[in-house]
């Protein structure tokens, strides 16, 4: 079953064509590395999949539903590019931020149950960040902040993870731990993963598919068959 189905997708920013006729499908359990040169439209593609950027034409289906009708946001975990989205001045603790990841499936008035708090506790343990739960997000290091945001993306037990340059703030050891966590999620829980990176070699090591774009799809398939364009 395709989790994501994109057909002839085009996106325009003002006069700038950001994506043109992009088509691809991602199946349940796929682990896709999305890459391309600067300005290729990688982040735009991720944001368009989430409905954050308006498309000019084409269609997007998530979990076999048209994006315009899709409401089950709890199925998707999103980790934005570091520092691009979140407001570090907000005096929130890590625990408060991780809980936000559970809001996607809640109805008004949105309240957290004891079960929700227990899930957050489990997530703190599984990412080894329990000691950060009551720390202010603004006082954490870049790597710690990234782990908190990752915990927020994972806490709803999503079926699809979209990660935009997730390892940029992580040291080598944290990066290894991060990738082994993704591998576990992908292999044991069949979580579908799309992660954006500039590091082609990491896609070869970790992902089972490569999506290379430069405003349009240049290559989509197994990493081993890929020849990097000049």
């Amino acid at each position: 079953m395709p989790i994501i189905s994109v057909k002839n997708l085009s996106v325009v920013y003002g006069q700038n064509q950001a994506l043109q006729n992009v088509s691809f499908e991602v199946n349940a359990g796929d682990y896709v590395g999305l890459t391309g040169p600067n300005g290729a439209g990688k982040t735009t593609l991720a944001k368009t999949l989430l409905g954050l950027v308006q498309k000019q034409s084409g269609s997007i289906n998530l979990f076999e539903k048209d994006l315009r009708e899709f409401r089950d946001w709890r199925k998707i975990g999103y980790l934005p590019q570091k520092g691009s989205a979140y407001n570090s001045l907000v005096p929130a603790t890590s625990g408060e931020i991780i809980r936000l990841g559970l809001l996607g499936g809640k109805k008004f008035p949105k309240r957290f149950s004891k079960n929700d708090l227990a899930i957050v506790d489990q997530m703190l343990d599984s990412l080894n960040i329990r000691d950060l739960a009551d720390s202010l997000f603004s006082e954490l290091s870049g790597g710690q902040q990234q782990r908190v945001i990752l915990a927020r993306a994972l806490v709803s037990n999503p079926q699809l993870l979209i990660l935009d340059e997730p390892t940029t703030a992580l040291d080598p050891k944290s990066r290894d731990n991060f990738f082994s966590l993704l591998e576990t999620l992908n292999k044991e829980n069949r979580v579908t993963i799309i992660y954006i990176t500039h590091d082609l070699s990491s896609i070869g090591t970790h992902a089972n598919k490569l999506l290379y774009i430069d405003k349009e799809v240049v290559y989509y398939g197994n990493f081993s068959d890929f020849k990097e364009p000049d």
Partner: protein, 269 residues
Amino acid sequence: MDLFVLLQYSFVQQAFVAGICVAALCAAIGLFLILRKMSLIGDGLSHVSFGAIALGLFFGVFPLYVALPVTLLAAFFILQLSQKTKMYSDAAIAIVSSLGVALGVILVSVSSGLNLSLFSYLFGNILTITSFEVYCAIFFAAATLIAIILFYQDLFYATFDPESARAAGIKVEWINLALVLVTALTVVLAVRMVGVLLVSALLVIPPVGALQVSRGFKQTLALSVALAVGAMVAGIFLSLLIDLPTGATIVVVNFAVFCGILALKKIPI
């Protein structure tokens, strides 16, 4: 002057009730505005309300009846300008704010006898508000604070990370619109109490003070409201006690509390 005797007067009681409502309202709304880098929207909208009040006085209409729709429109316009054009919200606020003042000044210059009435709105007077205004303050503060409690998680998410909040299906644009419209209503309400020139102090100083010491978003919101209410009560008492202008005294007390927090945190200025 015996404060307990003063408290027997209905105008003093009304001032306390309305003051507490407006202080709590401003502090709660102000926290969200500051964290969205929109601290000056209160200042801008109060300047617009100045122009609208002058318009009302010029045409002989109760000024707040004109100020309310005009300020709401201005808030909407500021939001549209900052979202649809290549401009930060502070620039949009500056444009709308200066237009409000300019229109007010033109109306003052072409009319006679307007200056005195307008003067009372520039500095406000919480001791002269009517029962109707007190009921408005109670109703509006209660409605807004209940809305903040009900939509707390959405507001928090949209403030911390608007993009991910959108990706979680939260209507961030609606939240932004509601926030600026509530700010406009709050400003119109507060103008009668502390005046056009001092409204933004109520929106900015208590939340900024709370941000220095709180650990957690809920705690910051609660402390911001508590500081604002405390400063409002102390300011009204102090102004009655030593016969000072009430609005200005409230602002000075707020500032003193803020300085106290900086001193406690040992932050050198």
